[in-house]
Symmetry: C2
Subunit: 305 residues, 2 copies
């Protein structure tokens, strides 16, 4: 199986690197780090053991890449508009495209551009960051969940899970709707509030009233999910579970906070505006999510753009 | 009539200064500026004409002040706990105490400490700031509304209004509940959001979604007011009116933003927590106000205290 990695940063560099390190046939698309990785390979500092990939298949243009059986999209979602021109270069009719990204509605938007494409969500539970050109630091966790979108499980899905497990990544499959929204339960409060209040997860949870608001926001996400898909409801207790898990995590800056700190565009659309719109269409008003969302747009406009 | 001014800053310095300038018998309590004003008097730079008061009755200790017929309390509300020990020094049984302060519940709290005290709310529509020791800058507006709390209009109220009018201050009387809550309709969204988003009123209103949230918050304040006092409801259109008026104002930093910028304690209790609690007791949940309130407490804890 040929793997294509679109976006070789904290996520794509780590998961693609793990596959390549285990001997899979992996092809990386790079932008700013192309020359460095072409010359010197990819360095992965990982809590599970460091390694260096001396020879890496790297490309600066997607048109130079081979057609792949699996494409892992690891871009920031603010760049997903690029997929329309990129993907036709590297997919055949049975390629599986896995969006290892945060947010709600990503797969549906991509499917509307490519009605016959096989798409899956990739939910990464990982602390990883790019700390230099071609240099990834994987601090902890790393679990990856694949959730097929709008189609039955394909053989290729099982093969991908198998390749990841053989590469040392804990990989699973899950039901799409539940998987995406459960991830949002954590992402929505913690990404936005660490930016709006310029802080870290531990400091948010050290404040009783803010912990309550995080819980309120989580319930808004759960209730939106359940309104949109009532057949498989997420239980309210999942919010408590997420808060308890976060309390025992080390102090953490979510990806949106890192984007904010580095004055990069934040993933406001797919993490806030899109779930709000989907919920509104289903008749549910995510009041606090919308308030936080509007604050984030204002902050981005003031400080970044 | 003898006037006592508790807190000689942007508000007390201006209104007390106007009365003194017109020849009223005014006695000022000062803290940090005492020596300066004792030596050099009080300077008022006003859009309506500058003036200097050479000889001012100033006091550093409330126990040195004479008993007054009218006391204008112009402290920040975070210092209202001082009133319990201060007021008995300067009131007789018919003294009118006017709280020229922002927020909800101030008069009720003071009345519970002094059950027989005559109290009125003072609503100042003014842009004024202290720009140096004993030096007040009154930029614009200046209207003052007196609203008797829990008692009929007293003769003294009419006298105070008359003294202000003769001093060049537009003064009125109004019904207490309506006056306090209508002021809160403007104060609650603009004070908190200029702090949370570190900006000014004009920039808030230049963002469509934030303008909508300001409108939402104003409606929460109006609906809380109407739930608490259904007999004299405030119309929803008052929110539109306030937004339109603010759009034609010059860019403005509300008092809480000035407190934040100068790392002073913010008036979160009486502007946010108290209206939220009063509304909750009446069965109305001010969701957005509570969210903003919790953000402000977090911000104050992070940056100021």
């Amino acid at each position: 199986m040929k793997y294509g990695i679109i976006g070789t940063g904290a996520i794509g560099g780590f998961y693609g690197g793990m596959l390549a390190h285990a001997g899979c046939d992996v092809h990386f698309l790079l932008n700013t780090d192309y020359d460095e990785v072409k010359a010197n390979g990819l360095q992965i500092d990982s809590c599970d053991g460091n390694f260096h990939l001396d020879k890496v298949n790297v490309y600066h243009e997607v048109s130079d890449m081979p057609v792949c059986d699996v494409v892992l999209v690891c871009l920031k979602t603010v760049k997903n508009n690029l997929l329309e021109s990129m993907l036709p270069n590297i997919v055949h009719e049975r390629t599986l495209v896995v969006l290892i990204q945060n947010g709600i509605g990503l797969e549906s938007d991509l499917q509307s551009v490519f009605p016959h494409l096989h798409i899956a969500a990739g939910l990464a539970f990982i602390c990883s960051s790019k700390i230099g050109k071609g240099h990834i630091c994987h601090q902890c966790y790393g679990r990856l969940t694949l959730a097929p979108f709008g189609h039955e499980y394909l053989d290729v899905t099982a093969q991908v899970v198998g390749d990841f497990i053989r590469s040392g990544v804990q990989a699973f499959t899950a039901e799409y709707h539940i998987a995406r929204w459960k991830k949002a339960v954590w992402n929505v409060p913690f990404n936005g509030l660490t930016v709006a209040l310029n802080t870290t997860t531990d400091k948010l949870l050290a404040n009783r009233d803010i912990e309550k608001q995080i819980h309120n926001i989580m319930l808004e996400v759960i209730h939106a999910a359940n309104r949109i898909n009532p057949r498989k409801p997420i239980d309210d207790s999942f919010a408590d579970e997420m808060i308890q898990q976060t309390k025992v995590m080390t102090p953490y800056s979510p990806s949106m906070k890192l984007d904010f700190d580095n004055r990069r565009e934040m993933e406001i659309h797919y993490l806030y505006e899109r779930p709000f719109m989907d919920a509104a269409r289903a008749g549910y008003d995510m009041k606090r999510v919308k308030f936080l969302s509007d604050e984030l747009r204002f902050i981005q406009h003031s400080y970044i753009m």
